[in-house]
């Protein structure tokens, strides 16, 4: 340093370095000066996420139900098939094997929100329910016993005007699926005079069909058909008497997944760290290493593979993975839990996923807003033949932290 510079610096000491004599000649020289404290690595550990992803929270709370055996299910509001036996046979003292076919529109595609699978809709679309329960309550308002013979429930497609074809097309997608409504070992169901009877029957095939049709946005109706008769020797039916079959559908989350699993995506728009865009390149220059470490305790009867994509800005529901500016991180695996052959969880499984981010991957997180897309592949356990039964409270506990190392000080 020249003597004159020294002098200037000294004279301006009292005014704390306002002088040009103490100022560097360039930005890089200024940065070298501030880095004179010595090179160091500063490591910052920050929380990224700490969440419990329970299946129940992924569903519309209005349709979630818990079965008596603590399984999680989705219910459809009860609907009734009502047949006015008195209207068709007023003042008849003896009824014997009068065939009646009752058609009642139950569910149409306009009522899709009645069967809302929430965030797991894509999963539901790709799997079959192993356990779907029809809780029936058959009511007889007449003064004579009613016997339902060969009474079945089925799913039929409505025409474009919303009308049910007669006879109904029970199975527009293949082999007709009809669920018999009868007592065990019999083809009939007896309901005493002025009484009702309740019971639950399995109807997984019927429900799978119903779900598929609804998700395909086909106009759909739940219909019943059969013969109503009586075994009473005498009796009287009034015009207002009805036989009604109230049906409540519960689809238990008991899936069998394909070997390749099922895939669904979900977007989330998050605020980034809000780092000024001019700051980002300099920060990236100093980036030594950035890891996102995620610990997962998987208490779901499934395993999960994740792909994550980040893209700057708010993309809404757009495909983040297809965005040209997206950063895609693939291959994050959450180990499958221990599951018994019936698909029930035996024990949870802990796993840790470490993702190391490089410069441009970090930059998306530093800006104001980014959209994160998650592509989830849900995998079934081989021990259960890919079947999984979701009990109430089933969840994955997730904790993510970021470890960011910055090179600071000299020698940048």
């Amino acid at each position: 340093m020249h003597k004159s510079t020294l002098t200037i610096c000294f004279v301006t000491a009292a005014s704390i370095a306002g002088s040009s004599g103490c100022e560097p000649a360039s930005i890089s020289e200024a940065r070298d000066q501030l880095g004179r404290g010595g090179e160091r690595i500063a490591e910052y550990v920050l929380p990224v996420a700490r969440d419990t992803f329970d299946v129940e929270s992924l569903l519309d709370s209005a349709v979630v139900t818990v079965t008596s055996d603590s399984l999680l299910g989705i219910k459809l509001d009860s609907r009734s098939l009502v047949y006015g036996v008195g209207f068709f046979a007023p003042f008849v003292s003896f009824l014997d094997s009068i065939p009646i076919v009752a058609f009642q529109e139950m569910v149409q595609n306009e009522d899709l929100d009645q069967l809302d699978f929430g965030d797991i809709e894509d999963v539901v679309r790709q799997v079959d329910f192993n356990d779907a329960r029809l809780r029936l309550n058959v009511t007889n308002t007449g003064d004579i016993a009613a016997v339902l013979v060969d009474f079945t429930l089925g799913v039929a497609e409505l025409d474009a005007s919303g009308q049910l074809a007669l006879p109904p097309v029970y199975q527009p997608l293949g082999t007709p699926i009809l669920v018999p409504v009868s007592e065990p070992g019999s083809n009939s169901l007896r309901v005493a005079a002025n009484s009702d009877t309740s019971f639950t029957i399995q109807g997984s095939a019927l429900v799978n069909l119903l779900v598929d049709m609804i998700l395909d946005e086909r106009r759909t109706a739940l219909v019943g058909a059969g013969i109503i008769t009586t075994d009473s020797p005498t009796g009287q039916i009034e015009a207002s008497d009805v036989i009604s079959v109230e049906t409540e559908l519960v689809a238990v989350l008991d899936f069998t997944l394909p070997d390749t699993g099922v895939v669904f995506t979900k977007n989330t728009t998050r605020d980034g760290l809000g780092v000024d865009s001019v700051e980002v390149p300099l920060l990236l220059e100093r980036l030594q290493r950035a890891d996102v470490i995620t610990d997962v305790l998987n208490n779901l009867p499934f395993g999960v593979d994740l792909d994550i994509a980040f893209a700057p800005g708010d993309l809404g529901d757009g495909d983040v993975f297809a965005n040209p500016n997206a950063v895609i991180i693939s291959g994050i695996e959450v180990d499958t839990s221990v599951v018994n052959p019936a698909g029930q969880l035996v024990s949870g499984q802990s796993s840790t996923a470490l993702v190391t981010l490089v410069g441009n991957e970090v930059s998306a997180l530093l800006r104001d807003t980014f959209t994160a897309g998650v592509r989830v592949r849900v995998l079934g356990a081989s021990t259960s033949g890919r079947r999984g039964v979701v009990r109430v409270g089933a969840a994955a506990l997730l904790q993510s932290e970021a470890r960011i190392q910055l090179r600071l000080g000299a020698s940048q």
Binding site: L6, V11, A14, C22, R31, L34, P47, R50, L408
Partner: protein
């Protein structure tokens, strides 16, 4: 090493004194310098500084000292340069934090003064002086526990605190009256002269501001991979005009005292001195008390930003406070063994103030190749910066005196982490 130098200099001073007692004849150059000029000027507050002048007159003084333990003048220059170039970035701040010594935190303080003095001798023994001064004091301390989070990260520790971080500053106007009374020579014509001094200054606060943690031990900030939590509350006091420059002069006041005792052996060329300054307290009226608090428990980093965005210092009330000025105790030994050289050893200690500057030991050598033109050079030890270098020049005549001095602390010139300067101009009748 420092201790060795100090001890050596003390020994030199004492040896020189003894040598003079035996060898310097009366009427020599060593005895001829006006005794009032033997009191070497210092950079920090010295209410008796101008009482040394031998005649009635005016003295205009301006000076100040400021230092910190981390950033030197070139660092300041770099920060200013980057700011001027609109290129000051976060990482530059993180780089600069690397300058803060580990375990020490960031400490800085300073004081400045400017004013006029009028006074002179009344008879042979009494000196009286009146002064009007403006003074400022400031201190900043950022606890290492607060710095370390950004400087080193939180990988190896999770909890941080503001600790003893605080800042305080005062600008005041003052009017003072000080007197010295000389006794002696005692015993013989070459005997000791005893000088006793006392004075009072009326302080009128002009601007005041301070900030500190309300929560004992500075609260806490805990950051780990699970969550971020914090409990911090900061309280500030400030006079209303602090931020908008609307200075008000009716903001309290107080009288503080200064005391001096000095023993001189002029013909032997030796003096010892003890001084207490700024003894007392000052009230500041109409101070706005503001506070801001952060209470946070979150796993979402964005929530931290939201909380910080809404953070503001909310006005709580207006109150009167009492502050203690930076009291100092100064002990000095001076020796002028021969016709040219004078050595001074000056130790300054703080005691009990919000603005304490750390203890320092100044070693001055004054060279009078021309008796009326002292050239001064010295070293200073202690403070925030360890070692500093001092230099000065004076012109000391019957009709006027002029003195200029500067000090580079913690390094030379642009590498200094502190600086001091002083300028005096006296005109005598």
């Amino acid at each position: 090493m420092k201790r060795r130098i100090v001890v050596g200099l003390v020994a030199a001073v004492l040896a020189a004194s003894g040598l003079r007692a035996q060898t310097v004849p009366e009427g020599s150059q060593a005895a001829a310098v006006e005794p009032g000029y033997r009191r070497t000027p210092v950079f920090r507050i010295d209410p008796f500084n101008n009482l040394r002048i031998p005649h009635w007159g005016f003295v205009f003084s301006v000076g100040g000292t400021a230092a910190n333990n981390a950033v030197n003048l070139k660092d300041f220059g770099a920060l200013i340069f980057l700011s001027d170039e609109d290129s000051l970035r976060w990482v530059d701040g993180l780089d600069a934090l690397g300058l803060v010594p580990q375990g020490s935190g960031l400490d800085g303080n300073g004081e400045g003064q400017a004013g006029v003095y009028v006074g002179g001798p009344i008879g042979r023994r009494l000196h009286l002086g009146l002064s009007l001064m403006g003074r400022s004091y400031g201190a900043l301390s950022l606890d290492d526990d607060a710095v370390v989070l950004l400087r080193d990260g939180n990988a190896s520790r999770e909890e941080f605190t503001l600790g003893d971080s605080n800042g305080e500053g005062l600008a005041s106007g003052e009017a003072g009256i000080h007197g010295l009374y000389r006794l002696g020579p005692l015993g013989s014509v070459d005997g000791v002269h005893i000088i006793l001094g006392a004075g009072a200054r009326y302080i009128r606060p002009v601007l005041y501001g301070s900030a500190h943690s309300v929560i004992s031990n500075g609260g806490f900030v805990r950051v780990n991979g699970d969550s971020i939590s914090a409990s911090i509350e900061i309280e500030t006091y400030q006079t209303p005009g602090l931020l908008d420059g609307d200075v008000k002069l009716n903001q309290g006041g107080g009288i503080i005292g200064d005391f001096l005792a000095r023993a001189e052996w002029p013909t032997s060329g030796f003096a010892l001195e003890a001084m207490l300054a700024n003894v007392g307290a000052v009230s500041v009226a109409g101070v706005e008390r503001r506070s801001a608090s952060v209470s946070l428990e979150t796993t979402d980093l964005n929530e931290v930003g939201d909380v910080l965005d809404t953070l503001e210092l909310a006005l709580q009330d207006t109150t009167n406070i009492t502050i203690t000025l930076p009291r100092i105790a100064r002990f000095a030994a001076s020796a002028w063994a021969n016709r040219i050289l004078q050595l001074d050893l000056i130790a300054t200690f703080p005691f009990g103030s919000e603005f304490d500057l750390p203890a320092t030991v100044d070693v001055w050598s004054s060279w009078r190749f021309i008796p009326t033109v002292p050239i001064r050079a010295g070293l200073v030890f202690g403070g925030h910066q360890g070692v500093g270098f001092s230099a000065g020049l004076g012109v000391e005549t019957r009709n006027f005196f002029f003195g200029v001095a500067g000090r580079s602390l913690g390094g030379l010139f642009s590498n200094a982490t502190g600086a001091s300067a002083r300028l005096d101009l006296g005109v005598f009748f």
